[in-house]
Symmetry: C2
Subunit: 125 residues, 2 copies
DNA sequence: GGGATAGTTCAACAACTGTTGAAATAAGTC
DNA sequence: GACTTATTTCAACAGTTGTTGAACTATCCC
């Protein structure tokens, strides 16, 4: 993934409203939710939600699909995995031994972290 | 991690310049780089770099420390691990079986993805 | 202290973002 | 076709962001 593309994805998640929308859609994967349900659950004005959904769709993190009168939105889990892999590759590909040390220091539950990859020069970064 | 806090971190990475600076600092962890080196390596005007470094420091993703005449900046690897863990927990905690399926579909190298956590209700999310 | 180097802060400005209410589109129901 | 519901687009506006050159602060060296 290129940094230009990655920064667009981070931009999509840089608004608390959009992050909440995205998290809600991830929680409701793979069925997704229609716009009205999102608006109700997050207590957002329809017009404002629509603005943020557009941004999420343009980033690729969310897909929309008409369903009769409704529009159903779904989180793109593959793209989410991509961005996790991107961050992880940035972190560990240079110095696995350093990354390992930090993992032990940090209070993060290891179940939520990727394995430390073996060192090698050319990666998906 | 709260979503308000997470969105601030994503905001810090939402500019291509800042993402490039951060990646460079991650690459040079744990020694970091002084501002002038960053400016030279990324071909940025000092004043503009300073603006972005300030944003990165405020987000917590980067720390600065005076070193004589220079200011040395370092990436906060622990916070980076936190944000990876946050994304991962969002993704998998709901429906591991769904996440697993997507992982197999997506072309992402599994070495860069966290293990699929066992389902349980209350997580670091 | 005076001069050089490293880096930041300031002021100005154009460009972009997020919010809102009003109007428009799209699809179902009678 | 007229009516209702779901959602988006539009126009306006306030607020924020990113860029630049000029001025400032901090540190080192003589």
């Amino acid at each position: 993934m290129e940094s230009r593309y990655a920064s667009r994805i981070f931009e999509a998640l840089s608004s608390e409203v959009r992050l909440d929308v995205f998290r809600l859609l991830v929680k409701h994967a793979p069925d997704g939710l229609v716009a009205g349900d999102i608006a109700r659950l997050l207590d957002l004005p329809a017009t404002n939600l629509s603005f943020h959904l557009k941004a999420l769709v343009q980033s690729g993190l969310v897909h929309g699909e008409r369903e009769g009168r409704f529009l159903r939105y779904r989180a793109s889990i593959p793209l989410m995995l991509d961005i996790i892999a991107y961050l992880t590759a940035q972190c560990c590909s240079g110095r696995p031994e350093c990354c390992r040390a930090f993992r032990e220091e940090s209070g993060v539950d290891a179940r939520f972290l990727p394995p430390v990859a073996a060192p090698s020069s050319d990666r998906k970064a």
